[in-house]
């Protein structure tokens, strides 16, 4: 509970340059990503292709045009939106639980989504026939994530009020049950299904399409931006529900709203990209180092940093072993894990 207070901004720029620099960095990362990939496309060709819809004629091969417009651009944009959404959801969850070690996974979203996606992958082929496509797996994952969160909330709701401590325990129980269900499915899956499930659970934005980007902007970015209005209320709630109520915060409404946004944002992100680990846990810490614990700054900074980090991680994922690629969830966890341990050691030294 005291975690927030003990973390002070390590870097002290004037506020405005810091925001400008981080936004600019994300922009540069996005452009760098758009210009880099397994198929080499020169900078001038990339620029020409990007300007083509504005009426310019680009001198580029058909392969270059396809790679840039159908594959690379939607992928980079999806990575940015999903990264931002997951990180913001992480910051919201940590605010909700008043615990910097909380992760959106605690609400059961990822576990429920994984179970439902695996169900679609294993039973889908036989039972659903042509419906067992990527879209069906996405839909199943979203519904599974939502169902798991509703279950956690139902367990934790007493007299119409969510009890946050019970929510934590309920989340652990639902996670464990979903994990067991997943294990059961793994025992009946064949080789190909096992591979599909494994890779799905490691996360990837390689399946990005323009419709997916559209869904992500509508169902991730929009709720995420709406959630920014609870920043003040979350700050007040850090002091405890009673104090928050005294300054006029409807804590029940804010808690419900936050849970709903986290469930939708993480559910949609997971259904589009599988399980992308660790962003929701690590990025809010990174943001807190830069701008301090106040949610008014923490939430937007998490959004910006998350967008940059997942874009960068995906760039690594698709370039480092090209023409093969690594699951992006692997990269975020590989990079995020050591960072988090470092953070813990630093804090231990201070205590």
């Amino acid at each position: 509970m005291s975690g927030h207070a003990s973390v002070r901004p390590a870097l002290r720029f004037g506020a405005a340059p810091l925001w400008a620099v981080s936004s600019l960095a994300v922009g540069v990362l996005v452009l760098l990503s758009v210009g880099t990939g397994a198929v080499p496309i020169g900078v001038s060709t990339v620029v020409a292709l990007l300007l083509e819809p504005l009426g310019r004629v680009a001198e580029a091969s058909e392969v270059e045009a396809t790679v840039l417009w159908a594959l690379r651009l939607p992928r980079v944009l999806l990575a940015a939106v999903v990264g931002g959404g997951l990180s913001l959801a992480g910051a919201l969850t940590q605010g909700l639980f008043r615990n910097p070690l909380a992760d959106p996974g605690l609400l059961g979203v990822s576990a429920g989504a994984s179970l439902a996606a695996a169900l679609a992958l294993v039973l889908g082929a036989g039972a659903l026939g042509a419906w067992a496509s990527a879209a069906a797996v996405s839909a199943a994952a979203f519904l599974g994530g939502l169902a798991a969160t509703l279950l956690v909330v139902a367990i934790a709701t007493v007299d119409g009020r969510p009890a946050v401590a019970t929510m934590l325990l309920g989340g652990i129980a639902v996670n464990a049950m979903a994990g067991a269900g997943l294990g059961l499915l793994l025992t009946v899956a064949d080789d190909a299904q096992l591979r599909s499930i494994t890779f799905w659970m490691l996360g990837s934005v390689a399946g990005a399409t323009w419709p997916a980007v559209g869904v992500a902007v509508g169902a991730v970015l929009l709720p995420a931006v709406l959630a920014l209005r609870w920043a003040g209320a979350l700050d007040a709630m850090l002091l405890g529900a009673t104090d928050a109520a005294m300054v006029g915060v409807d804590t029940v409404q804010v808690q419900r709203g936050v849970v709903a946004v986290v469930a939708i944002v993480v559910g949609v992100c997971t259904s589009l990209c599988g399980v992308v680990g660790f962003l929701g846990l690590v990025v809010p810490h990174l943001a807190r180092l830069l701008v301090g614990p106040s949610h008014r700054r923490l939430l937007p900074m998490s959004l910006i940093l998350g967008a940059g980090l997942l874009t960068a991680a995906d760039l690594v994922a698709r370039v480092v072993v090209a023409p093969a690629e690594l699951p992006v969830g692997l990269i975020t966890t590989l990079l995020g894990g050591p960072f988090f341990v470092g953070l813990l050691l630093q804090r231990r030294g201070r205590a």
Partner: protein, 278 residues
């Protein structure tokens, strides 16, 4: 490599993949661990001697109705023993080794056969199972039928460049690299793998699929089913941009025919060759 040297000494005795001499005398309760081995038993007409199969035994359809011992890489010793087998024929990939060792220690003859994806290994597997099940004549007939089917598969020039899809790996497609059964089959059919920068089945970055620009896309029935059918397959952006897909050159073969290197290896190679040769 030992698998290639399957020495057939006396009737009912083979030297298996481990170099162990395994003897069976007219076994009547055989358990097969591995879809290819089950298919061989059926091809030999010896299915009446089967007491159980593993979950990867999906061809022929009748095999799926045999008593199940679970997935061949993860079988249980007690489950195997409960079928009272008098012979277990297992792929070298079957396991865990502890379970198989327990069953062998309980006195059940265990023949471990190579899973190498080559014609010679396929012939070796057929001969070994035929010997163990007293069906040598039928085994020889299957082997010579395979040789006959494989004769005269002259590759088209230039060799068609082929990509083999093995399902989805997260968002990207799992594509066969070198050292895979798929690559061996493509080679056999006169094609050449368009992706050989890595070995095994790995997620191929979508851009690389477009850049590889294969002449033909090959996959298996179950993989295509899992992806939602051929139509869903061709809607995946990276594939939709491929010349092979635009020209409708997608070949779908039965899983075990394409990847099993069992009795239908010759037939599969012939069919693939026809699809690759315009």
């Amino acid at each position: 490599m030992i698998g290639l040297l399957l020495g057939v000494a006396l009737a009912g005795t083979v030297t298996d993949h481990r170099g162990t001499s395994v003897t069976a005398s007219s076994p009547q309760r055989v358990v097969a661990l591995g879809g290819t081995l089950t298919e061989i038993v059926y091809a030999l007409g010896a299915q009446a001697q089967l007491a159980g199969v593993d979950a990867s035994s999906v061809y022929p359809q009748a095999a799926t109705e045999q008593p199940q011992v679970g997935y061949y890489r993860q079988v249980g010793a007690e489950g195997l023993l409960s079928l009272r087998p008098d012979l277990i024929i297992a792929s070298e990939d079957a396991g865990p080794p502890e379970a198989l060792a327990l069953v062998e220690a309980a006195g059940v003859p265990l023949a471990v056969l190579s899973s190498e994806p080559s014609v010679d290994a396929a012939k070796g597997r057929i001969a070994a199972v035929a010997t163990l099940l007293d069906r040598e004549a039928k085994g020889e007939a299957l082997v010579s039928a395979m040789s006959a089917a494989l004769e005269g598969l002259a590759p088209a020039q230039p060799r068609p460049r082929v990509v083999f899809l093995f399902g989805r790996g997260g968002g990207s497609l799992l594509v066969a690299g070198s050292d895979t059964a798929a690559a061996a089959m493509i080679e056999l059919a006169g094609g050449v793998s368009a992706v050989s920068e890595y070995s095994g089945y790995r997620p191929l970055t979508p851009e690389a699929l477009v850049a590889a620009d294969p002449d033909v896309v090959v996959s298996t029935t179950r993989v295509v089913e899992g992806l939602g059918g051929v139509e869903a397959l061709t809607a995946i952006p990276a594939l939709a941009a491929c010349r092979a897909v635009l020209q409708g050159r997608i070949v779908v073969l039965d899983d075990l025919m394409m990847l099993g290197f069992g009795p239908r290896t010759g037939e599969g190679a012939r069919r693939l060759h026809e699809a690759l040769t315009p």
